[in-house]
C-alpha cells in the first residue's frame, strides 16, 4: 500500500511539473507580446518596450520559469494584467466557492448516480431500467448551460423558490447559502450523475452476473445482502474511477454554470479573464484546477487500492 501511494505520488508530481511548464509557456505563445495585452489602449511602442524590460521578458526562458515556479510555490501568481491586483487574492477569494460547488455537485452526482445505477441494474430490461438508460443518454447530451437556463427559468423565475443568481457566503446565512447553491449544484450534478449511473449500472449488471454472486445466492444469502456486500462493493471498484473523472467534468462545467448563475467562483473568473486575455489569472486558475484534478486522481488511485484487496498487497 505504501509503495502504491509512493509511486502514484511520484508520478503525480512529475505530471504536475510538466503541466506547470506548459502553463508557464502560455505567456510566450501569445502572438506579438503580452505587453500589448497588459497595456490595452496604452500600447505604444515605447510603453511596450519599457514594460517588456520591466517584466524580465529578456531573460532566458529557464531563468524565467525558475522565477515563476518559485513564486507560484509561494502562492504568488503575479498580478492581473487588467487591474494590477495580486492574482492570489482573486484565487483565495474564489476558490472556496468553486470547491463548494464541486463538493455539492459531486455529492448529488454520486448519490443520484449510484442509486439510479443500482436500481436499474437490479432488473435489467425493466421499465425502470429502460427509462433510466434513456434519461442517462439524454443527460449526457443536454448542454448543461441550457439545462441551467431552463432550471432557473422554472425554479427561480417562475416558481420563485430559489434565488436567481448570486451567492451568499455560508457565514452570512447558511440557509440562503444552501439555496443559492442548489441550482448550480443540480445543473452540474445531473450530467455527472448520469455518467456515474451508466457506469454503475453496467458494473452492477456485470458483477451480479458473476459466479461469486451466483455462489452467494446459491448459499442462500438474502438478495439485499448479496446486492450490497457482493454487488455494490465489487461494482464500486471500476465506478470509483468514473467518479474521479467527474472532477474534471464538473470543473469544466462550472466554467459556464457559474456564469449563468453569477456564482463568484473560479469559473466566472476564468471566463472573464479569458475574454480579457488576463493571462496570469488564467495561469493561476489552470494551476489550481490541474492540482485539484491531480489530487483527486491520487485520492482515487489510493482509494482504488483501498477497495481492491489485490492492489493492497503491492
Amino acid at each position: 500500500m505504501i509503495r502504491l501511494i509512493l509511486t502514484r505520488l511520484i508520478s503525480s508530481v512529475g505530471i504536475f511539473i510538466a503541466l506547470s511548464i506548459l502553463i508557464f509557456l502560455l505567456m510566450y505563445l501569445v502572438p506579438g507580446s503580452v505587453a500589448v495585452i497588459i497595456l490595452d489602449d496604452a500600447a505604444t511602442p515605447e510603453n511596450i518596450a519599457k514594460l517588456e524590460a520591466e517584466l524580465g521578458l529578456d531573460d532566458p526562458l529557464p531563468t524565467q520559469y525558475a522565477r515563476w515556479i518559485v513564486n507560484v510555490s509561494k502562492g504568488d501568481f503575479g498580478t492581473s494584467f487588467l487591474n494590477g491586483r495580486p492574482v492570489r487574492d482573486d484565487i483565495i477569494e474564489k476558490f472556496p466557492v468553486t470547491l463548494w460547488l464541486l463538493i455539492g455537485a459531486l455529492v448529488i452526482a454520486v448519490v443520484f448516480g449510484l442509486s439510479v445505477g443500482i436500481l436499474a441494474s437490479l432488473k435489467p430490461g425493466s421499465l425502470l431500467d429502460r427509462s433510466s438508460v434513456l434519461l442517462v443518454t439524454l443527460g449526457i447530451s443536454i448542454p448543461n448551460f441550457w439545462l441551467a437556463v431552463l432550471l432557473s427559468m422554472l425554479f427561480a423565475v417562475k416558481l420563485g423558490w430559489l434565488p436567481v443568481f448570486g451567492y451568499t457566503p455560508i457565514t452570512e446565512d447558511p440557509i440562503l447559502w444552501f439555496k443559492s447553491m442548489l441550482l448550480p449544484w443540480f445543473s452540474l450534478g445531473i450530467v455527472s450523475s448520469t455518467l456515474i449511473a451508466r457506469q454503475m449500472r453496467g458494473a452492477m449488471i456485470e458483477v451480479l452476473n458473476t459466479d461469486y454472486v451466483r455462489a452467494a445466492r446459491a448459499s442462500g444469502i438474502p438478495e439485499h445482502w448479496v446486492v450490497i456486500s457482493n454487488g455494490i462493493k465489487n461494482a464500486m471498484i471500476p465506478v470509483i474511477t468514473v467518479i474521479g473523472f467527474q472532477v474534471p467534468v464538473i470543473i469544466g462545467g462550472s466554467l459556464i454554470i457559474e456564469l449563468v448563475f453569477a456564482t463568484p467562483g473560479l469559473g466566472s473568473l476564468t471566463i472573464q479573464s479569458v475574454l480579457d486575455q488576463d493571462l496570469p489569472i488564467v495561469q493561476a486558475v489552470l494551476m489550481v484546477m490541474a492540482s485539484l484534478v491531480i489530487l483527486t486522481n491520487l485520492v482515487i488511485d489510493i482509494s482504488y487500492g483501498w477497495l481492491n484487496p489485490k492492489m493492497r498487497v503491492l
Partner: protein, 500 residues
C-alpha cells in the same frame, strides 16, 4: 486503520473547505442601493481608464474638481469656482476635504494627480490633458493650469477619468492598484467585495456634504441581462443599466425607465486611403454606405425608439448642428446607384465587436450593408482593446461611440492627421484649416466653423453617423431620486439616491 485514513482525509477536506468559506464577509446593512452592472471594474486608478462603462465602479469613490450635471453641465465639486482665460484656468479648491486614507485634499494633491495622468502611462488620457503645459500651486486652496494651446473642452474632460482625484499617498505607494482611495461619499469595502462579481461601497463618514449620501451602502453586481431582470423580479436589485432593446420587457414588467441622452455612434471609416479596402477610397462608396443604413428602422426596432437617428455629429438644438447638410439618410436605391456608378458590385471588410452590446450595434448595421453587397465581418476582440483595435490599422472601419463632445476634441481624436483614431494618417486640408482656425477663436464665433467641419466630415463619408444611441436605466419602485447621466451608457448619479 484504512477506514480511519479515509475518514480523516474527508474530514480534512471539509474542514479546509469550511475555513475557506469562513473568510467571507459579515451582514449587510439596511438601506443599500443594489445596482446591476454588465462589466466588472478594471483598474482602480481612474487615470488608467477611458471606457464610460467603467465609470460606474469609480463614481462612488472619486470626485473631480468639476462635477457633472444630468445633461453634462459643469458643476462645482472639489473646486468651488474657476476662471478660464486663453492660456490658463485657475481653480479655487474646497478646504474641508479629506481622502479616504486621511490625506488632506489640497492644491498639491491636484498637482500630483495631473502629473500622474501626464506621466504617459496611459496615453488616451494623457492626450486629453495635452493642453496643460504646467501646474502652478498658488496656495493650498488655489491652483492654476497653464495652457499651451486652445482648450475649449478641458473642463468637461476633467469631469471624468483624467480629472478624478486620487489620494497622492495611494498614488505614490501604488496601493490604488488594489483599493481606490478618493474623496467621494462612499468608499470601497475590500473585505466584502468579490472582485469581478460584486463591489460593496460603504459610507464615508468624513464626507464634506452628507446631504448627498442618501444610502448607507452601494452594491454593484456584475450581471448578465437576464440576471438583471431576474434580480428585479425577485427584488434583489434597485437599479440596472439596460440596452434600449430591453426597454419593452422592462416596461412590461412595470419598472421605471430613464433614458438619458446616449453617446453618439458612427461607423468610422479609417481606411479613407483605400490601403486595405480599396473600395473605401471612393467617396461615392462611402456615401453609398450612408444611404444603405436605415437609421429610423434601427432606432425604432432595435433600440425600441430610444434613440435619435442622425446623419451628422450634432443634433438639432446644438450650436454645431448643420441645417445645410446634404440628405444622407436611408435611400437604398441611391445607395445601389452609387455602387453601380463606382463600378463596384460588392466588397468585404473586417470590423470588431467586444461584447453583446457592441454586437447589437454591429449586427443590424451589417444586415443593412449586406443589402448593397457589402459584407461586414464582425470579429470578436478581447474586452478593453476597442481603441487599440481602432487605431491598429488592421481594421478599415468600425462602429464606435464619439465620446468627445466638443468639436475640437472630435477633430483631435478622429480627423487630425495625427489623430489617435486616424490610423491611416489621412489628411483633409480643408478640415484641418477649419479646425485650426476655429480653435483660436472664442466659442461663439467659432461655432459656424465647427459646424462646417462636422458637416464636411459627414458628407465626405469619414464618419457614417448613426445617431445618438440612448441607453436605458431600469429603476425599481423602491429607489428614489435616481438621475441618469448623459453620454454615458447605464451610468447614474449615486448622489442623492435613496432607497425605501
Amino acid at each position: 486503520m484504512k477506514k480511519k485514513l479515509g475518514m480523516s482525509l474527508l474530514t480534512g477536506v471539509v474542514v479546509l473547505a469550511m475555513l475557506f468559506a469562513m473568510a467571507g464577509p459579515a451582514m449587510a446593512a439596511k438601506d443599500t442601493l443594489r445596482v446591476g452592472w454588465s462589466v466588472p471594474a478594471r483598474k482602480w486608478n481612474p487615470h488608467l481608464n477611458t471606457a464610460v462603462m467603467l465609470l460606474g465602479h469609480l463614481e462612488p469613490v472619486y470626485e473631480g474638481l468639476v462635477g457633472e450635471g444630468p445633461k453634462g453641465e459643469l458643476l462645482p465639486r472639489l473646486a468651488t469656482k474657476w476662471e478660464q482665460t486663453k492660456d490658463s484656468i485657475t481653480f479655487t479648491l474646497r478646504d474641508d476635504v479629506v481622502f479616504h486614507d486621511g490625506t488632506k485634499f489640497d492644491a498639491n494633491a491636484v498637482k500630483a494627480n495631473i502629473a500622474d495622468v501626464q506621466s504617459g502611462r496611459y496615453p488616451p488620457n494623457a492626450k486629453k490633458l495635452i493642453a496643460i503645459s504646467s501646474v502652478e500651486v498658488i496656495d493650498a486652496t488655489h491652483i492654476r493650469f497653464h495652457l499651451n494651446r486652445p482648450a475649449p473642452s478641458l473642463l468637461y474632460t476633467l469631469q471624468r477619468f483624467a480629472g478624478l482625484m486620487v489620494s497622492p499617498a495611494a498614488l505614490k505607494s501604488n496601493s490604488v492598484d488594489k483599493v481606490p482611495v478618493g474623496t467621494g461619499p462612499w468608499k470601497l469595502d475590500p473585505k466584502r467585495t468579490i472582485s469581478g462579481t460584486k463591489y460593496v461601497y460603504t459610507l464615508n463618514k468624513e464626507y464634506w456634504d452628507p446631504s448627498v449620501q442618501g444610502v448607507a451602502e452601494i452594491e454593484i453586481n456584475v450581471l448578465s441581462v437576464e440576471q438583471q431582470f431576474n434580480g428585479f423580479a425577485s427584488g434583489e436589485l434597485e437599479v440596472a443599466g439596460l440596452h434600449s432593446a430591453f426597454v419593452p420587457r422592462a416596461k412590461a414588467a412595470g419598472y421605471k425607465i430613464l433614458s438619458p441622452e446616449g453617446p453618439h455612434e458612427a461607423l468610422h471609416i479609417y481606411d479613407r486611403t483605400g490601403k486595405i479596402v480599396p473600395e473605401l477610397a471612393d467617396p461615392r462608396i462611402r456615401r453609398a454606405l450612408s444611404y444603405a443604413i436605415d437609421r429610423k428602422a434601427f432606432a425604432r426596432v432595435v433600440l425600441q425608439g430610444n434613440s435619435i437617428p442622425s446623419t451628422q455629429r450634432y443634433l438639432p438644438g446644438s450650436q454645431w448642428h448643420s441645417e445645410e447638410i446634404e440628405d444622407l439618410s436611408y435611400n437604398l436605391k441611391k445607395a445601389k446607384e452609387l455602387m453601380a456608378e463606382a463600378g463596384v458590385k460588392g466588397f468585404t471588410f473586417d470590423t470588431y465587436s467586444q461584447d453583446a452590446f457592441f454586437d447589437m450595434m454591429n449586427e443590424p448595421i451589417a444586415g443593412m450593408l449586406k443589402k448593397i453587397g457589402v459584407t461586414m465581418n464582425i470579429k470578436s476582440i478581447p474586452i478593453g482593446q476597442l481603441f487599440v483595435a481602432a487605431s491598429s490599422g488592421k481594421y478599415a472601419a468600425s462602429i464606435m461611440p464619439l465620446i468627445e463632445r466638443h468639436p475640437y476634441d472630435f477633430y483631435q481624436a478622429k480627423l487630425a492627421p495625427d489623430a489617435f483614431m486616424n490610423p491611416f494618417k489621412y489628411e483633409d486640408k480643408e478640415i484641418d484649416a477649419l479646425a485650426k482656425k476655429a480653435a483660436r477663436m472664442d466659442e461663439k464665433s467659432a461655432a459656424p466653423l465647427w459646424t462646417e467641419m462636422s458637416r464636411l466630415a459627414a458628407e465626405r463619408g469619414y464618419l457614417i453617423h448613426i445617431g445618438s444611441v440612448h441607453f436605458a436605466i431600469m429603476v425599481s419602485k423602491r429607489a428614489k431620486n435616481v438621475k441618469g447621466r448623459s453620454f454615458s451608457p447605464y451610468n447614474i448619479f449615486f448622489r442623492g439616491v435613496t432607497v425605501e
